[in-house]
């Protein structure tokens, strides 16, 4: 063996000339490695296939002219982008290549941003500087980012755009769920401006829970909240029988009776069995509360809790006190103080208490609690962080109970522990954690949520948007959302408005719900007398609406208080209420308005003026509009509805002054005559 090697050495290097030749050859070959690698590179292959593909197209010449060989690069220093993706994705900007099915050659779909301004990885993640498919798309090393799956792409919009947008429904939904499902009670998420996301699920205080319900119900609820109400927000903590027994024991023992008016109602419920359902209907309880129907579907709103089995939950005295004035039990509740009389309270509570489910508590038998059980229950309540959501006497809200998620969207994969069989990517990890948190370790405290797959995708999308880039991007790129204002009306009227919970449905100056019309400029828009009548007997203006304004049994004094406040404070500076008369328009102008209404603008497509001929169903009925709105408001509305109520779907028709004036004249002449005619017949 040794001899053979020596003779080979002799053959190659024995003679200096030959040795020189051999060494040069080796050098030459090693020098050739780099260009050869270049020749065989993937991107070159893709550019050749691209050229072959466009050769047969009718626009081959144009495409050929646009084509440039070699490595392409988009360099955006302030975004930290060095993207070479366009070396293979050659046709991204070619308008005609929308019909190409083979990747990487299809034109990029239309998005609001330019490739040259944002590059690729800002939205898609991946390794921009890489020049092979595997490195660019799949690298999962700690400091690298694999390509973001398409279903989470909206998370990238969320890096800069902090508020909801029409084109990103999944991101919007995910962000809303973080508040609505209460995730942010336990997990702090700070936005780049430093403000933490606030929950809006409003979990009840447990300080007086023994007034409200029984220990048996608490036990059943703790075991499985969704068996009481499929729509329940509270997740399942998977407590054992013993743990649920002890927690319920502690909560009952820890509850203090609420001081205040607990006088029992002596009034009898109405004898007519339909009185309960009709009072429930007239009060529009279903705008906020849902009930399961016979087919198992939830019918109603989701502002308040589901009431399908309410009779198995609440104590009758508590329910009656709550209906009489919910604010005496929970000063911050979204439920209005309806001012029901005792008879109505008796009728409504009787109707609700009949909504029971005999199976719910059938198998719950609890012996009286022992001091050890109560003490153990208290420990569990601390361990599971119940006070992160609920007020519980003697237990402080824990700080940072669960890991902060402020930068979860760029958490390095090396810091994650995956389940067997799981893809090792951050989105998979996040989705897996939301779907089955306890699968990662039985000792984990995160509870089990009941979420649809689409909701898990939405939450994952929102969480991925909280990443490093959202903190480091140039501030000029950040598009802040509109912060919820903390507007509160002042004085006596303000007190009355919070008592009636107007803001649960109406929005005023950026604060409040979106179920009912925005009232920011209500004082400019309506006539005083109409408003007074509306408070006394609210009807609906929109035939197709199922949610309506309830009647609150207001006193005349209260109505005056509210009306005065609205008429003076909710004034739009651009609408001078007294600049146009409420009636007395020349007949010619009214007639011109009628023609415009039915002809040029065809308003009857959405509105009803004459109940005999018009059927439009989208906008408010206008049969009485001349006694409801002010002429000045109507005129400005014709000119530019969005200026008065941003986001209204009434199209802006850019009307001339003359058209707007004529339509105002016509509409102001609609003072409810048609209805009287019907009544006469």
């Amino acid at each position: 063996m040794k001899e053979k090697l020596t003779s080979l050495w002799q053959k190659l290097f024995g003679d200096p000339v030959r040795a020189f030749g051999v060494v040069s050859l080796v050098f030459l070959l090693s020098l050739a490695i780099a260009p050869a690698k270049n020749y065989f590179s993937e991107w070159r292959h893709y550019q050749h296939s691209y050229l072959r593909m466009i050769r047969n197209r009718s626009d081959a010449n144009t495409l050929q002219r646009h084509f440039q060989g070699g490595i392409h690069q988009i360099w955006l220093p302030e975004l930290g982008v060095v993207d070479r993706c366009t070396s293979c994705h050659v046709g991204l900007k070619e308008a005609s290549l929308t019909d190409v099915a083979t990747q990487p050659f299809r034109k990029h779909p239309v998005v609001p941003h330019k490739l040259d301004e944002f590059g690729c990885v800002v939205c898609h993640r991946g390794q921009g500087a890489a020049t092979t498919v595997a490195e660019a798309h799949n690298s999962t090393l700690a400091w690298e980012q694999p390509i973001l799956p398409a279903k989470y792409i909206e998370s990238s919009c969320g890096q800069c755009h902090r508020g909801p947008m029409l084109g990103t429904p999944q991101l919007n939904q995910g962000r809303a769920l973080l508040k609505r499902e209460g995730c942010v009670h336990c997990h702090t998420i700070k936005l780049p401006d430093g403000s933490p996301i606030q929950p809006n699920d409003d979990p009840p205080s447990l300080e007086h829970i023994a007034d409200k319900t029984t220990r048996e119900w608490i036990y059943a609820w703790l075991r499985d909240p969704q068996s009481y109400a499929a729509s329940a927000t509270m997740p399942n903590f998977k407590l054992s029988d013993d743990d649920a027994r002890d927690v319920s024991a502690f909560l009952m023992a820890n509850s203090a009776p609420l001081a205040g008016d607990r006088a029992k109602i002596t009034a009898k419920p109405a004898s007519d069995p339909s009185a309960g359902p009709s009072l429930y209907g007239e009060s529009f309880c279903a705008s906020c509360h849902s009930v399961q129907n016979a087919a198992g579907n939830l019918v109603g709103g989701d502002v308040g809790p589901e009431l399908t089995r309410i009779g198995s939950k609440v104590k009758p005295e508590w329910l009656q006190a709550w209906l009489r004035n919910p604010r005496s039990y929970d000063p911050g509740t979204a439920m209005p103080h309806y001012r029901l009389n005792d008879g109505q309270v008796a009728t409504l509570s009787g109707f609700l208490l009949a909504k029971t489910d005999s199976d719910l508590l059938a198998n719950v038998h609890l012996d009286p609690a022992t001091p050890e059980q109560i003490a153990h229950g208290k420990r569990l309540v601390s361990d599971y962080g119940c006070a992160s959501c609920h007020e519980i006497a003697g237990i402080k809200k824990p700080e940072n109970f669960a890991p902060e998620l402020t930068r979860i969207g760029s958490k390095p994969i090396t810091q994650l522990i995956f389940l067997p069989g799981m893809q090792h990517t951050l989105p998979e990890y996040i989705a897996g954690k939301i779907k089955q948190p306890r699968a990662f370790s039985p000792g984990l405290k995160m509870p089990q949520y009941t979420l649809a797959p689409a909701q898990i995708d939405a939450l994952t999308t929102a969480l991925l948007s909280f990443n490093e880039r959202s903190f480091t991007l140039p501030p000029s790129l950040a598009v802040p959302g509109v912060p919820e204002s903390d507007y509160q009306p002042a004085g006596k009227a303000g007190k009355l408005m919070s008592d009636l919970a107007c803001f649960s449905c109406h929005r005023i100056s950026g604060h409040g719900g979106d179920m009912a019309p925005d009232l920011t400029w209500e004082g400019s828009s309506v006539q005083r007398e109409w408003l007074v009548q509306f408070f006394k007997n609210p009807g609906t203006l929109r035939p197709a609406l199922i949610r309506r304004m309830p009647r609150f049994n207001l006193t005349d004094g209260e109505i005056t208080e509210l009306t005065d406040y609205i008429m003076t404070v909710y004034q739009n500076p651009a609408v001078d209420r007294d600049s146009m008369p409420l009636s007395g328009y020349p007949q010619g102008q009214v007639e011109l308005g009628r023609q415009l209404f039915y002809g040029k603008y065809s308003c009857q497509g959405c509105h009803i003026v004459d109940t005999k001929t018009d059927k439009g169903y989208i906008g408010p009925t206008l049969t009485h509009v001349g006694s409801r709105l002010t002429a000045a408001w109507m005129y400005q509305w014709m000119k530019n509805p969005q200026a008065l109520r941003p986001g209204t779907i009434e199209p802006n028709r850019a009307m001339s002054d003359e058209d707007a004036r004529a339509l105002t004249a016509f509409l102001m002449s609609q003072k409810g005559g048609a209805k009287q005619e019907i009544a006469k017949k």
Binding site: F40, R44, H45, G167, K615, Y617
Partner: protein, 244 residues
């Protein structure tokens, strides 16, 4: 030399692709206990989803025998273009002859053909083809705008939350899925009627002008949506992604 290089890399890619697809096929299929004569759609065709996302409803197909009666225990497999996910990818028909699968579409906007297939007694392959539509950013924006501004006139279906206004209109608009009509209207004309209202195309003024309410981008997005959902497909709908 260049040709040689590309030939080599093409070879490498082919080998890679072959080894990948081999991995995919190694899953064990359940053994059918019965065979049908036809596979038909029960529900789930023609749905819309955002690119990469789950279809809102599962796809349900049914296997029938020669008499049209449901067959239990027949094997149905699902296939589509790469990137389309099926959960589960195959299954035996249940007691009502059906197999249900949740489908997530791939990352490119466009139409996806989904094939459900089974075999009859003589091992002949029976196929059912369904089409699903993946919406990209622009089409998604268009869809939301349509929901907000257009749908209640252009869609005759009512729900409890949104009562349709279609029946109240003296001149009936077309649903945007009606390709036979909408495919004949050019992009320019669509832009004109949406921007300036019905009279722009000598049509009814019941179609309002939206040009002062919606931006040009919004109107383009609406047109992209109209093109994406039309049935039969419009020419500008792009390719249909099918199993290779």
């Amino acid at each position: 030399m260049i040709r040689y290089g590309s030939a080599v890399s093409a070879f490498v890619l082919t080998v890679l692709a072959a080894s990948c697809s081999h991995k995919g096929e190694s899953a064990i299929l359940p053994k059918p206990t019965a065979f049908g004569a036809a596979v038909v759609e029960s529900s789930g065709g023609k749905q819309l989803a955002q690119t990469g996302s789950l279809l809102p409803q599962p796809v349900v197909v049914q296997v029938n025998d020669e008499q049209g009666a449901a067959v239990t225990g027949a094997l149905v497999e699902f296939a589509a273009a790469p990137g389309v996910g099926f959960d589960p990818p195959d299954g035996l028909t249940d007691s009502s002859g059906q197999v249900t699968t949740n489908v997530s579409l791939a990352g490119m906007a466009g139409r996806y053909q989904i094939t459900a297939f089974t075999f009859d007694k003589s091992h002949k392959r029976l196929e059912l083809k369904l089409e699903e539509i993946a919406l990209g950013y622009q089409e998604t924006l268009g869809r939301r705008l349509n929901d907000q501004y257009c749908d209640r006139c252009h869609n005759s279906e009512s729900t409890v939350e949104r009562v349709s206004n279609y029946d109240n209109l003296e001149v009936k608009p077309h649903p945007f899925t009606e390709g036979d009509t909408l495919n004949k209207i050019s992009n320019t004309d669509l832009t004109a009627i949406i921007t300036n209202g019905g009279p722009a195309l000598q049509k009814s003024a019941l179609m309002p002008a939206w040009g002062n309410t919606l931006s040009k981008t919004d109107i383009q997005a609406l047109i992209a949506y109209i093109r994406a959902v039309s049935d039969p497909p419009s020419r500008s709908a792009g390719p249909t992604y099918a199993r290779r």
